[in-house]
């Protein structure tokens, strides 16, 4: 069942088009994530959904009810949309429990107490209930903000860069915890972040945003392994492009061997209108698509290496001069300039028409 729907939403600040035809849907109980670089319009999108910004075109619907249209918007306080702000926006004159109870004013005292106790337990702050905001840590403040937003059981929970104020170690731990909390509450949530690890750890669905619209709305797995275009392939994860020659509808030959898999439709028959000969494509190879194998006859020169603990990320120079990345278990410590044997371990191919 669709909880949130954006239909070609546009929004601009003066002459600058911040959101430009943004469309996606989020089903009830799912966690969605808008991922993008700063300035891509993701926070503005969130604020439009919350009801803090008007929209210029399209429509936003929550539970099937239109909440934003050009020239009209349901006031934020009537949307039943919870929001966790980037800096939490906690009420410093209230205690932890009072902050959480703030959105429960319409309930009876007993019902309020019960719901607050339930949430305190859910976010693990039962012992901190009477603390003031300056008496708890950043991570605890983050969880108070989450509990406060969840307390009135909103139809939709919005989170704006929820972990950006925390240090890296805490960020990783909390993103797992937050996902568990949201799932335990059965909440429908939309999260905005610029950190793909965070997006992958939290979300069921991730929409990569670019220039005010969704470049691809998909599962984290598919974004990584089946990027819809070059922008996504560049933005998500690491990788290198190798020139490939299309052999057939499902086959591409690269310097490292022949790969089976997806080929852009206009190159299907192996040749195309623009290219005189066979169609040339850029093939995306992730670092885990190339494995180190001493027995392999295919040799590549180590150009640089980055130690990652469990593995090395090697940048390899191929015989043709092209470059590729390879993740190699870290006991294979090779010197820069050394030639090492590699082989292709990709079970599918991701290829894009060559630019130009």
């Amino acid at each position: 069942m669709i909880e949130l729907e954006l239909q070609s939403v546009t929004q601009s600040y003066g002459p600058k088009q911040v959101i430009d035809g943004l469309s996606f849907v989020l089903n009830r109980g799912d966690i969605g994530c808008l991922l993008g670089a700063s300035g891509c319009g993701k926070t503005t999108a969130l604020r439009c959904i919350a009801g803090f910004e008007p929209i210029d075109g399209g429509a936003i619907r929550i539970s099937g009810q239109a909440v934003s249209q050009p020239g009209w918007a349901l006031p934020a306080q009537q949307r039943q949309v919870g929001m966790v702000f980037q800096d939490y926006a906690l009420f410093t004159h209230l205690s932890v429990a009072q902050n959480i109870a703030f959105g429960l004013r319409h309930l009876s005292c007993a019902a309020q107490r019960q719901r607050v106790a339930q949430l305190l337990e859910l976010v693990g702050l039962t012992d901190e209930a009477d603390r003031q905001m300056h008496q708890i840590s950043g991570g605890q403040q983050q969880r108070v903000a989450l509990a406060r937003a969840l307390a009135p059981k909103p139809k939709l929970l919005l989170m704006d860069e929820p972990f950006s104020n925390l240090d890296v170690a805490l960020r990783e731990r909390l993103s797992g915890e937050v996902r568990d909390i949201l799932k335990a509450e059965g909440a429908t949530a939309l999260i905005v972040t610029h950190d793909q690890n965070e997006a992958f750890a939290l979300a069921d669905w991730v929409g990569v945003m670019d220039a005010g619209r969704i470049a691809q709305w998909d599962t984290p797995y598919n974004l990584y392994h089946q990027p819809a275009n070059r922008f996504i392939a560049d933005f998500i994860g690491q990788g290198a492009f190798l020139v490939g020659e299309v052999l057939g509808n499902q086959q591409v030959r690269t310097e490292l061997g022949v790969l089976d898999g997806y080929v852009p439709p206009d190159c299907h028959s192996g040749g195309c209108a623009q290219c005189p000969k066979r169609c040339q494509v850029d093939v995306l190879l992730r670092p885990d698509d190339i494995v180190h194998d001493d027995a392999s006859a295919l040799l590549a020169e180590v150009q640089s290496k980055a130690f990652r603990g469990a593995e090395f990320l090697y940048t390899l120079g191929l015989p043709s001069g092209q470059r590729a990345l390879s993740l190699v278990p870290s006991h294979h410590d090779h010197a820069i300039g050394e030639k090492i044997g590699i082989k292709l371990a990709a079970d599918h191919v991701v290829a894009f028409r060559r630019a130009g």
Binding site: A50, G51, F52, P75, A76, Q77, Q78, Q80, V81, G82, M83, F85, Q86, D87, Y88, A89, L90, F91, T92, H93, F102, G103, R105, H106, Q132, M133, H134, Q141, R148, A149, P152, L158, N165
Partner: protein, 537 residues
């Protein structure tokens, strides 16, 4: 283990000790009781003073809170035409000393003034409540002192108000309700701090009370000194006034602590709520009305009077007043900034709990009314002087009435205590921005000692020094009771001239010196505002 006190701690300790002198002197005055005067004070003076002071504090407190908070909220949380300009212009009344708007307002609102004359002629209104009364003082002081609340509350609203309102909205609360339930309570420590500054100024005010002939402690101290010729009586009144001040200081320190706690996860993003046309118009009218009453009307009237009296008053004596004001303010500012710099540097060289405590004590003088400082520093300096004179006579046989009396010493010391905090604030902030690692980076590049000060500290501190000197200079030019009570013979300044003219009811002839003070006081406001604009762009 007790550490050996070092030079920096001793320096800070000496400055802090100076602040304690007037307090100790006021308290010691009870050792020398004149029963007759004390009975007179207790029976006829004190009850009135206490009643007047309490009502004044309540009235001005209410007035500045209503004006300051409402204007701050409008400017920080709402967007309407003219807002950018108003947010700066609403500080302008700070350039107008309360004693100046006092005599202009009396003239305009008095029975014989233009407003009442017009009301009588047009509407047949017989009479408004007498302006020369408690409510008149409250009115003038509220319009004059609201910027203290406005400035500090505006910062609070701007830094956390709008996001708090949105948070309340996301929890189902309409914006206006959210303002009263969230933004206002969250800003309480800031509002309290601004309010207390305004109340301290109210307690310290001498000029306005003198113009209104309204009896409070400051005017009573002055009268005890000049009317009863009783220094102990003046000091005893001082000690009661200091009791009020002490209460204010304690509450203020507590609200400052609240500000530190309240500053959890503050955001820099400010999204103001766009007002509808009607609301915009109302907001604009309200803010303009305050600005007109608090600034435009008094200044216009001053200008008219200045022009009318220029031919008569713009003589050599006027230039002497001006020269004295500038000379005193320059000397005072140099002394105050020098000591403030020393105090701030001491804190940097020798940081620690003890130093922080001494610095806080040393800068407490801003809370002391000028009249208290005048009495509290005159008495010990006079005593020292007498002791010196006997000493010199017994050793050298030279007859003398003293060397310190009749010099600028008492006045400059009093300025130092009263305005040290004004200079210390910007200097300390400036010094703190030059972190210790900046010193270490310079050391690593072979820059030490004087070169470090000349190449690193001085350029970084130049703006802070300018700000500190400018603010102190203006404060001294505006200052009335210290200058009036401790000036050497013949050292009349602009403020003294205003006091003399207004005490004779010659409003018009007070206008020219008043205009000069307002112009001087506007310089730093314009400079600081434009500097801030640059920093924002």
């Amino acid at each position: 283990m007790l550490k050996k006190p070092n030079g920096w701690l001793l320096t800070a300790g000496a400055v802090a000790a100076l602040v304690l002198v007037p307090v100790v002197v006021s308290l010691l005055s009870f050792a020398q009781v004149d029963a007759g005067i004390l009975r007179h004070l207790g029976e006829f003076v004190l009850p009135d003073l206490l009643r007047n002071t309490v009502w004044l504090l309540l009235g001005v407190g209410l007035g500045v809170t209503l004006l300051g908070v409402s204007l701050a909220a409008l400017v920080a949380l709402c967007e309407f035409p003219g807002r950018r300009w108003l947010q700066w212009a609403l500080m302008l009344p700070l350039a107008l000393p309360a004693y100046v708007s006092a005599f202009v307002m009396i003239d305009l609102l008095d029975y014989s003034g233009p407003l009442q004359a017009w009301l009588r002629a047009t509407w047949g209104v017989a009479q408004l409540p007498d302006i020369r009364s408690g409510w008149g003082v409250v009115l003038v002081l509220s319009f004059s002192l609201y910027p203290y609340v406005y400035l500090i509350a505006r910062n609070a609203f701007a830094s956390q108000g709008s996001v708090a309102l949105e948070a309340a909205q996301a929890l189902g609360m309409a914006p206006l309700q959210g303002f009263f339930r969230v933004a206002l309570p969250m800003a309480r420590p800031w509002i309290a701090a601004g309010l207390l500054l305004a109340l301290m100024e109210t307690l310290a005010d001498f000029g306005t009370m003198a113009v209104f002939n309204f009896d409070t402690f400051t005017t009573a101290i002055y009268k005890a000194w000049y009317g009863l010729f009783s220094l102990p009586a003046a000091a005893q009144l001082s000690s009661v006034l200091l009791l009020f001040v002490l209460v204010m200081v304690v509450i203020e320190q507590r609200s400052r602590r609240g500000m530190r706690y309240g500053a959890v996860g503050r955001s820099a993003s400010t999204r103001r709520r766009k007002l509808q046309p009607v609301a915009s118009a109302l907001a604009l009218i309200y803010a303009l009305l305050v600005l007109v009453l608090a600034f435009a009307v008094p200044v216009t009237q001053l200008l008219r009077w200045s022009v009318a009296s220029a031919a008569q008053d713009l003589d050599a004596r006027y230039w002497t007043f001006l020269w004295h004001s500038i000379l005193l303010a320059s000397l005072g500012a140099a002394l105050v900034v020098g000591v403030a710099l020393l105090l701030a540097y001491a804190g940097r060289q020798q940081p620690g709990g003890m130093m922080t405590w001494l610095q806080r004590l040393a800068t407490l003088g801003y809370a002391f009314p000028g009249a208290v400082l005048a009495v509290g520093l005159f008495i010990p300096v006079a005593a020292l002087d007498g002791w010196l004179a006997t000493l010199v006579q017994s050793w050298l046989g030279v007859e003398s009435t003293g060397w310190l009396k009749g010099t600028l010493l008492v006045m400059l010391l009093a300025y130092l205590v009263r305005f040290l905090a004004v200079a210390f604030g910007p200097l300390n902030n400036g010094l703190q921005r030059i972190g210790r690692n900046v010193d270490e980076a310079a050391h690593s590049m072979g820059v030490h000692g004087q070169a470090l000060v000349a190449l690193v500290h001085w350029p970084a501190l130049r703006l802070s020094l300018q700000t500190a000197a400018m603010l102190t200079f203006v404060d001294i030019v505006k200052e009335m009771p210290i200058t009036l009570m401790t000036r050497p013979f013949g050292w009349d300044t602009l403020a003294v001239r205003i006091f003399e003219m207004t005490s004779e009811g010659e409003w018009q002839r007070a206008a020219l010196p008043a205009m000069a003070i307002v112009l001087v006081a506007m310089v730093p406001m314009v400079l600081l505002a434009s500097r801030r604009e640059e920093a924002h762009d």
